[in-house]
Chain length 449, copies 3
């Protein structure tokens, strides 16, 4: 019996007793009348007996009612929230389960050079099951039906966490390396439909172990990782898969509801494994086209490579700004080392006055001030980005390009987003598509929860 | 506090007060006895004070109990239905979520010509998550695990709907074009295990936008669509994907529970995109065999093609009938245009007296009069179909065939179906399998909800 | 209204009435005072009327409260359990639904010969939806996201059951043939990360029908099966898929909570279908490496093959032992018949005192005596296995090998498992890897519910 129920029971019992006893004044009256000689001793006896019996009976009944009421009003053991997805939580807080997902349906139209065909695609279609167990343990499985393939390719997250230490989380399984602010921010929540050109240096997801701490004003994470799910040990099964180390620290000296300054630094080392190759490439901030305007191709004789990234972000009311610089150094066995780098700066502005939502080292979802379907107009946000990537060094000519992206996001509800993006590739030097400048207009409709 | 709870609280309070006050008669009695001089003024004062104190105390207790009872008896915020799948609904109706799916396990045996190997397969194995959000928005993701492949091949439905306009629905994402009665009717609910030969002209699912209205006696839907999920912009990424327009109108002058007349017309235009090809083909109303008895092969130099379909359906008690005629005109760039067509007529009869269930332009599921597991025998239905398809025109010889199908469906419960189908291909003219007449015996077990 | 609610209602009513009537003593008192001439007839009349009215009013109020309380305390129609996965059950027991899954994340390091690359993988990543409908029917769909591929490859279970007969279950769809104790035991619950070398004779899953009975002390199952999901009728569609028959009987003369003797025998016949091939192979009790140390290759001209297996298992408190011998006879059309065989013996010991959990013919999950997250240390188990496989006969040289496996399992909670396995292949004779002895060190983290 919970404290709440005990209190309830006690109150009902006491109320019943009082009310049954309704009534001490009648006892007083009877006594007085007897004293005053208005009722005889015999009558007095009968009255007293009847009074006592009624009191006992009422008390018993009240106790019985109390017990049954307590049983009947026992709160349900599981709390449920339905908001697109479904969240369940046991009342003791020991277990939670959430079923959620996302769908991003895209259409893109290309102009300029190279010649890229227009088209549509489901960019992501995910379901996930996530929860906590026995207080201290967490689990997640998230699958992307838009990205199926051998070796578990579509598996996004598949991990266990242990949260039994104060402020420290252990994680084992498949998940994102801790690197880059725009990579740590979910694709549901990034400002544009696709991440920047510097996303060519994304660290991606690997099977590994990580320890992290997330505080209000800073976070720190470090881990050791194997290879990505689709990696194998080669045709002859004799190559070791790659492995890596990753760490990221963030510091947010100002972190209020509508005001943020974020600084971050990330480090990512990858041993290339037995394959001894590395490749860096990017499309023109689009995904449907399939044309990598910048691409080093498969670089051979690679022993390892290290990425270093610096992050800066700020929120002031409806205004947000974000920038990253990432440099990658590739060590080769019998050739010059290579250095590539890229960066972007972007800014967003909510016409409807909302603020970007920041949580422990990454941006989260937008909560419109008023929802469409509840009499409101949702949240409207403008975005502008400049990004650049240089994949040319020594004998490797992956090309170099700049691009500008203009975006409009409409969030009718916290679970929906419609985006229109216009990407203009300003200048491509070197690589396969030298001097070909592509323009993309892209639409996305998204539900996510 | 809801009205219901207010009422409850008020009643309890008033009951408690009444019962505590049990009791105005004692006040009356005391007053009388005082008037009559039976109790002294001092005694009367004591009695009155005690009475008043008890009344106050009882009222306070009752109010307290009322508050706590109201809290304890607060109805749950989420309504749940478990019927194979799980449906959740917030009590305010703003949010719903449903998790459901279907499995169809088939076995087929072939005789006649051509020589087709017997076998088994999971025809469909789907899960879906579907719901509404913030009153006016809907979403769905449905995946078919029996039909996986690159580019999100197994994704059946992945869309957002907006239902905030009276009687008008907007839809964006991946879903079926509005075309053909047997295509609009779910595979869970069609009369036979496979659709007719005329299903060669199915419009399929594409990423697009649609506006529709569904009334009791008529429906209208029209949309613009991109290509199917598996379509790409070619090996060189320079081909536009195809796109299309689709519209369908239905009219049901009679639409009662066991009586229906349905008329429909559909129009589907497809631009062939940069690939400039089209292909129409069908198996012998089976899926395991993998032999397309009719097949135009890939027709080249196609600019676009247009399908027109006419629908007719009727229900009279346990009897149902349905027919469609579909013609397809293919425009080619440097060659004669092509015309293909096909049609079918089918009839069903419930031995157990149920009626086909019609809802706003398509047939739905069968609810047996009595369920197996609840003392009943389920619903039993016989079906007979004649269908024909002509894929021969000008230089294209895809063949022509007729077939007759005999079917038996047993629905032990609304969520289960066992089917036996016998397909007899009567006559094949032209094409690869000219004069080869195949016979198929097929069994299916299905759960769906 | 349930009996429980009727009882509750009656009790509240009676309590209310009693308490309203608080009170018969006041009636008695009034009568006495009237008899004694202390109140006048008029006063007596007034008092009686007031008393009566109050009694009626109190009774009415009590009835009203009773009704509303009964409504408010109506138990919810669906019971929910959240323990990682989610189980729902209607209160009438007619319907249940469970959503669950498992993730196994592995890393392996190889030494010895042949040269096998180290690596990581998600071994299994499954979700399932399972339940009962209309009392007598059951369904399941389970998919493995780590094992996707054409023809529904990742579909593990996809079936319907009928449980309306006493002690007899019918099953139709895709599921495991009834064969071999270590195959019937879920991969979540087997003692080591991978099954034994004799697992080369696993019967696997097929589409089929099975009838089974499971009693406390014995079980019997028999079925007829088509081919596996990925099997097709060949490139020319003219080959029949394979089919088979399977039966298994188990007997557990002792089956108590911590004490078990299990005997079993299995029989599995497979017609090779139109492909006329069979193949038996195994890795070194690992899965990441991808090297089949024993492998018959594709044996041609096979008409059918029959597997016979014998099982023995025992539990005595924390100690468990298990052994199987399986022999396979292959009938070939124009060549000598072939005989292969393998066996293993394994033993496990719970350092923390738990017992292996046995249920109707297979081992189930471990419930630690104390859970990590609830102040405990979980369950710790040591395991040792010897296994051997001989795939050499007549003209087929698939090799022969022995191996020893040492394992440590840690189950922090019933839903989690961390395993470390060391496999030492002792001796390989014949086959591609003759005299190459491989050693594997493997780690697994698993959540499952």
């Amino acid at each position: 019996m919970t404290n709440y129920k005990k209190l309830l029971a006690a109150t009902i019992l006491s109320a019943m007793t009082t009310s049954a006893y309704a009534g001490s004044e009648i006892e007083t009256l009877i006594n007085m009348l007897h004293e005053n000689g208005m009722v005889s001793d015999a009558q007095f006896g009968r009255l007293q007996a009847e009074l006592k019996q009624n009191q006992i009976q009422a008390t018993e009944k009240a106790a019985q009612v109390d017990k049954q009421l307590a049983e009947a009003t026992k709160p349900s053991d599981v709390e449920i929230e339905v908001k697109g997805g479904v969240s369940l939580k046991t009342r003791d807080g020991k277990f939670t389960t959430k079923l959620g997902g996302r769908v991003q349906a895209d259409a893109a139209s290309y102009s300029g050079d190279p010649d890229i065909g227009n088209g549509t695609e489901i960019r992501r279609a995910r379901l996930y099951l996530q929860g906590t167990m026995y207080n201290d343990w967490g689990y997640k499985l998230q699958y992307d039906f838009a990205s199926t393939g051998a070796n578990g390719k579509g598996i996004a997250d598949a991990f266990i966490t242990y949260n039994g230490f104060d402020d420290l989380q252990l994680k084992v399984g498949n998940f994102k390396d801790p690197f880059s602010l725009e990579q740590q921010t979910s694709s549901k929540f990034v400002l544009f439909t696709e991440r920047s050109l510097a996303g060519a240096f994304a660290a991606g997801r690997h099977i590994g172990s990580m320890v992290s701490t997330k505080q209000k004003h800073w976070s720190l994470a470090g881990g050791v990782f194997g290879d990505s799910l689709t990696a194998t040990n080669g045709n002859n099964h004799d190559q070791d898969e790659g492995w890596g180390l990753g760490a990221r620290g963030t510091y947010a000296p100002i972190n209020e509801k509508t005001k943020l300054v974020h600084l971050g630094v990330g480090l990512n080392y990858r041993d290339a494994g037995g394959a001894n190759t590395a490749r860096f490439k990017t499309q023109a901030e689009t995904h449907i086209g399939g044309v990598n305007i910048l691409d080093t191709g498969s670089i051979s004789a690679v022993s390892d490579y290290t990425k270093v990234g610096f992050e800066l972000a700020s929120v002031v009311g409806p205004f947000s700004a974000q920038a990253e610089y990432i440099t990658t150094s590739v060590n080769r066995n019998n050739a010059t080392d290579l250095d590539f780098d890229g960066w972007y700066i972007q800014t967003g502005y909510f016409l409807t006055g909302e603020s970007r939502n920041y949580k422990k080292g990454a941006f989260g979802g937008v909560k419109p001030k008023s929802n469409v379907g509840e009499g409101g107009i949702g949240a409207w946000e403008l975005g502008l980005r400049y990004s650049t990537l240089d994949l040319i060094d020594a004998d490797v000519d992956g090309g170099e390009a700049d691009s500008v992206t203009l975006g409009l996001n409409w969030y009718p509800t916290p679970t929906l987003r419609f985006s229109a993006n216009y990407v203009d590739v300003l200048e491509v030097k070197g690589g396969t598509y030298a001097d070909e400048e592509s323009r993309v207009f892209q639409l996305r409709s998204q539900w996510a929860f």
